[in-house]
């Protein structure tokens, strides 16, 4: 049985239909990369899978949990890293991660949090307000959440943006580790070259439907 199953997922914003019957099924250790034009619905699909948006039509099951009635439980098993870092500029990395772990009711000590900060290469900045961090540093700090939360499902929206070449290699190593520990990744990307180092299944989102082929789907 699939660990993640999405069936007949539809979503619209007003009269504009974005998703028209998305079907997706995944197992542990699998990575799916969503490709598609701007506005094709990649971010909407990730947001729906994060349960930030309520389902309008269709079904989404993660680890036996139905998103319609068990949204909180699904949120505790997934981490969504979107275009926004969700960081508070007035808080330091340690405080930001402490805030994150307590909101998710994770039992993490300050030492564990500092270790996660070390692992993302921000040791020197651990006690400085994150307001003045560069986009790449914010991205690294955001990814430290994955190391702490150890989720079942990781949702990433353009994770390679703002990362330099070294950062891309570093991120791919972290993601490969995550997959080898039975995690699942769904990632939206415009950059097939950067994601190439990671073992993945490419899926193409066009006209609101997912396909394994790059060509246009019939409606």
């Amino acid at each position: 049985m699939a660990k993640l199953a999405v069936t007949g997922l539809h979503h619209r914003f007003g009269r504009h239909k974005v998703l028209r019957g998305v079907e997706l099924s995944m197992h542990s250790g699998e990575c799916v990369v969503l490709f598609g034009d701007n506005g094709s619905g990649k971010s909407t699909l990730l947001t729906l899978l994060s349960t930030r948006f309520a389902l309008q039509k269709g079904q989404y099951i993660l680890d036996g949990l139905d998103s319609r009635s068990q949204g909180e439980e699904i949120r505790s098993k997934s981490v969504f890293i979107s275009h926004n870092s969700h960081l508070y500029g007035h808080l330091t990395p340690v405080e930001n991660l402490l805030f994150f772990t307590e909101l998710r009711q994770l039992d993490c000590s300050k030492e564990t949090i500092r270790k996660a900060i070390d692992n993302v290469g921000l040791t020197r900045f651990a006690d400085r307000p994150s307001r003045w961090f560069s986009a790449g540093m914010k991205k690294r700090l955001t990814l430290a959440r994955v190391l702490l939360a150890k989720p079942t499902l990781l949702l990433l929206d353009e994770p390679y943006s703002a990362l330099d070449t070294q950062g891309v290699t570093w991120l791919n190593n972290i993601l490969a580790d995550f997959l080898s520990n039975s995690g699942m990744i769904i990632m939206a990307s415009h950059d097939p070259q950067r994601v190439a180092a990671l073992s993945h299944t490419p899926l193409f989102l066009k006209k609101g439907q997912l396909s394994t082929k790059k060509e246009a789907l019939s409606c």
Binding site: R52, R75, N84, S85, H86, L87, Y88, H90, L103
Partner: protein, 221 residues
Amino acid sequence: MLKAAYRIAWKDMVGDLRRRSSLSSMLFFSIAVLVVFQAAFEPDRQAAVKLLPGLVWATMLFTSLMGLGRVFQAEEENGAFEGLLLASVPRGIIFLGKWMGNLLLTLLVQAMILPLTMILFNVDAWHVIHHIFGVLVLGILGLTGLGVLLAAMTQAARSRETLLALLLLPLVAPLLIAGVQATAGVMEVDGQPWPWIKLLLIFDTVYLALAPWGFSWLVEE
């Protein structure tokens, strides 16, 4: 789960103290209002006693509006509100945390402003100051409860502070009337504050019972 609410309130308080945004502006605004009232009315001691309940509540209302206008300001940065909504806690807990943060801030300001008002207007009611503050606390509970809900509702609007005041003022008018009457009641020797205090308690219960539910409904997309 209450730990999550406490952590949200902690984050808001720390943010405010580090940025010195709401607390300082609420304090300065209150002091300015009191000085203007003092200069305009120049009340004698007897008139000041009669003025005090209205003055205390008017100042509290305006300063609360100022704090409520900024209650979701920190959440605008880096899409942090989305991050809050992705937490694996009920939406009501998120509301509780935001409300607690605003409540503590408003109480802190009022704890400083109330003695200052009594000094500035030369009101000899020090023996009942704890009763006056108690009544204020009851009012602040309901006002901030409803206020945080309306602040969430108007946070995306362009002129949100005006909209917030427009929505909040008619809804809290009964609470303000009850608060002013209860304060006057505790200051008078043979005053009857209890019917008004009971009314305050009813408003608090209604606002605080409905607000978390309203917030959960509001943030669902």
